[in-house]
Symmetry: D2
Subunit: 294 residues, 4 copies
């Protein structure tokens, strides 16, 4: 099989490598001449035999929408576009609409696995029509981890559902990370009692209820830097976590642990908290409690 792949950054570049390793011919396009296989999307369209399959793996938002528009021009009726970026699920209806007008098929794919995916394979959640899923199955099989297909790949539902499932996956991921982080802080705080924090995390890797890949990564991080002395507690968040809460709110689904994990990240990026200034000001007002000067 021969497909097109647009976007050869950290994720896309690794995916091209894995696809090729697993027998898929890939013509890749990226605006960066150092990594691209062809100079333009038009030439990508010429290189890939029709009916084409083209995977899009570029930053979510306007850039993805721009590429979708370019593909609406460059591709032909019956071609299939798979949008695998970190897009919001509501974008998929827009992107599908742009392509459907030209008779081009559309699927969305949520992709998990980060920098380890090249070696371990990528967890894939796809949304679209069954016939399109069937058609792209060799691509999915090349990207997904070894083992039973259903343990690393799912056809979730209609267009948009792949990104939706990925969004929820990331919401869960945030809360799991927060869970380990809270446990870490408590163990670290009680160093009078816990003489081997790294060893404690390491010992949870087999037999325990919390064993998980994130735990394995926590152990790697602690072996590297047992006090996390080199790292600042400043944490970015990507869109998926925010969208998960938005969906919780829109659907009246309580998400206290996931929301706590996002709010903790917001706080982590503040030099000083306006809210806590207000609390300090109030305490000073009613109780004459001393404040710390800014």
């Amino acid at each position: 099989m021969h497909i097109g792949l647009i976007g050869l950054g950290r994720m896309g570049g690794n995916m091209r490598a894995r696809l090729r390793d697993n027998g898929i011919t890939v013509t890749g396009y990226d605006p960066n001449p150092a990594v691209t296989d062809v100079p333009t999307i038009a030439e990508l369209a010429q290189a890939v035999p029709g009916p084409r399959v083209v995977w899009v793996m570029v930053p979510a938002g306007e850039i993805t929408t721009g590429v979708i528009r370019d593909l609406a021009d460059a591709l032909d009726e019956g071609d299939l576009v798979i949008e695998g970026g970190n897009s919001k699920f509501t974008d998929d209806a827009v992107h599908a609409g742009i392509l459907t007008e030209k008779g081009i098929r559309y699927m969305d794919a949520g992709v998990s696995g980060g920098v380890w995916g090249k070696e371990n394979g990528y967890g894939l959640m796809v949304g679209g029509d069954a016939a399109d899923v069937e058609r792209a199955l060799p691509v999915f099989d090349a990207l997904r981890p070894e083992g039973p297909r259903e343990e690393g790949f799912v056809h979730v539902g209609p267009v948009g559902s792949g990104h939706y499932a990925k969004m929820v996956h990331n919401g869960i991921e945030y809360a799991m990370m927060q869970a380990f982080a809270e446990g870490y802080e408590l163990l670290e705080k009680r160093s009078d009692l816990i003489h081997d924090v790294t060893g404690t995390f390491a010992a949870w890797q087999r037999g325990t209820v919390v064993r998980s890949w994130l735990l394995d990564l926590m152990v790697l991080a602690l072996k590297d830097d047992p006090k996390l002395a080199e790292i600042s507690g400043y944490v970015e968040d990507s869109g998926e976590g925010r969208w998960t809460i938005e969906e919780g709110i829109n659907n009246a689904v309580p998400l206290p642990a996931i929301t706590a994990s996002i709010f903790a990240r917001f706080v982590s990026r503040q030099d000083d908290s306006p809210a806590m200034k207000a609390v300090a000001a109030l305490r000073n007002q009613f109780g004459g409690h001393a404040v710390h000067k800014a």
Copy 2:
């Protein structure tokens, strides 16, 4: 009526003044010679006519317990001790036990009002026997705010219940402060839209659902320093908030808003969050996301 008052710090000193203003004779004792009326507790016992009423207003914990022990020695059977400090309700059984052995009566009193209490009166929640409450009523009436007695005073239940009610009061107070603080941060953040944050808080003082004394204090604080530029977002917490959560846990009562307000204070005092270091480390491990160096 003539009572003894032990502890003449910020709270006790103000209470002595209010009691005297309202016709109660007070003999006060404090280790600080600059404020005390008598040099020792023994002399306080001599000065106050029996059967005595002695109010204790010293820091909670060992200091209060020490004073209770001193009073067990200095007072006589039939005297009444009212412990009005910020004690944990579980201390009251201990203190009552120490005094009861000598036939001395015991009540606990939760006192709210802060530095404004001298002028406005103190909200009082007391625990003990009805006969003891009756006996000390002139003291309570002198301390409580003007207006109907039941709007500033309550006999909550048996010994310990006054401090329990005060503990819950403070838990509620924490969450109310957090509520205003969160609203403040959001208004402040959207200064593109909210051109008058102080004016907005001020306008909530009449007619709205959120009108409250804490709101009035927020307005005072903002009028003083509209950006809270002079104040750091570093907030202490006293025991009552922690005990409230402990009680929630012990009684399977969910307290998410109160707990959020305590946790926000914990975070406010951290230079860097060990938990968020762990989250940053995990993100770096799985996604190759850049970390901020400590």
Copy 3:
């Protein structure tokens, strides 16, 4: 002054009464013939002398937008529309746009006070141009509570800011209600110790840090029904709370207490929690813990 008022439901009807009581002539329109003063919006436009001021007080969303469109047809250049419903602040730009095309002025007003506003006056937060605020000041003065204008009225900023401030007000209100509710549950749970829950709330009305209108209402509710036996713990939420969280998320402002209060409402409306079914299922899987059959 003579204004038009569209919407004569619970809020609008009370506002008409208060406006008239305070010397404003009001021509009201409502589709309900039992309450309306004129049969159509067109006749309202005829009745109100120009340049007109028309207050809109109808359900937020499509109904409000429909009325705005009707007013774009019925009114003339230089007239002023004040939209006082529970609209999302992002709707204001749309509504202003519809009217501005016709040269009609637009302001938004957040209104707080509920069913008590008729008697106590309404807290008002308005967004728009200073000249329009000036022009409508007699209307605001008639609606707002007695006392200094700045304690019940604010010109927050540009169009949209009035509804924004009202949204934040309601977010704060949610968390304050949750604060009292959590305290209530804890006091109620410890009825072994707290013999007078109603009396405890009542005693907080004067002198304490938590004194507030919501506390007064809590006392009224408990005096009516001390165990709240007649009432189910099923709580709706209106849009403002959700929008507040959405804004928190969009602006990276942590809102843990406000969010906790919304999530508690979501849970209150569930017969059974899908999430807790999942937790029960997991515990059963790993620990063989018995589950409760549905």
Copy 4:
């Protein structure tokens, strides 16, 4: 090696089987005659060659303390007791004290693995002196999972630290379960989009960031009962989660996700929420909002 094992319930019985399978001779005692090897603890002491190692695996609290007292009588100087139950870490000092008086050694062991431990091995976290750890290593090696020792076993620190680490492990576990549960509820709610919830969870088992044993169990549970229709959302909690929060509070460590997971369990067990009754009552008071009758 030949050891004594007290407590042959679900956990202890499985552990006896695993120990024997791995070459440890075990004399087990349980009050239940159907499972015990010896009729009394005294006879267990006779059967096990000295210096003895005796593992205690009975319900935490008074029962464990009772067994410790019995062992203080039945054992000899130089024997070693390993307390592996779900005890609070603060109990360990008490238990160590009881035994140390008689010259008996004491270690605590946190044990994770549930009903799967018999087959997979148990994650072990132990607290005590290095010499005692060394002495009991064959027991730990028999119980722990196959693979590198440090991935299923850790000497955490002094007496109490094993149970402390297990407590933190369980706190993390609670939040991880809550994370999956929240994700489940959102996916389930959007069944319009998510046509295959079970398949989505299954597909996360390989390659994704959330892969974990709890995820595997979630998949097993959903394959059994895809809608969790047979199970009620009523969830007990054991002490470890509560103690974790207590420790967070005592050490000023914010634990929002862990706490959210405990509070969700508290709510899951309520027929009606007193707190939400209070919120409903307040809304009714200020807004005239209809309440649901109890």
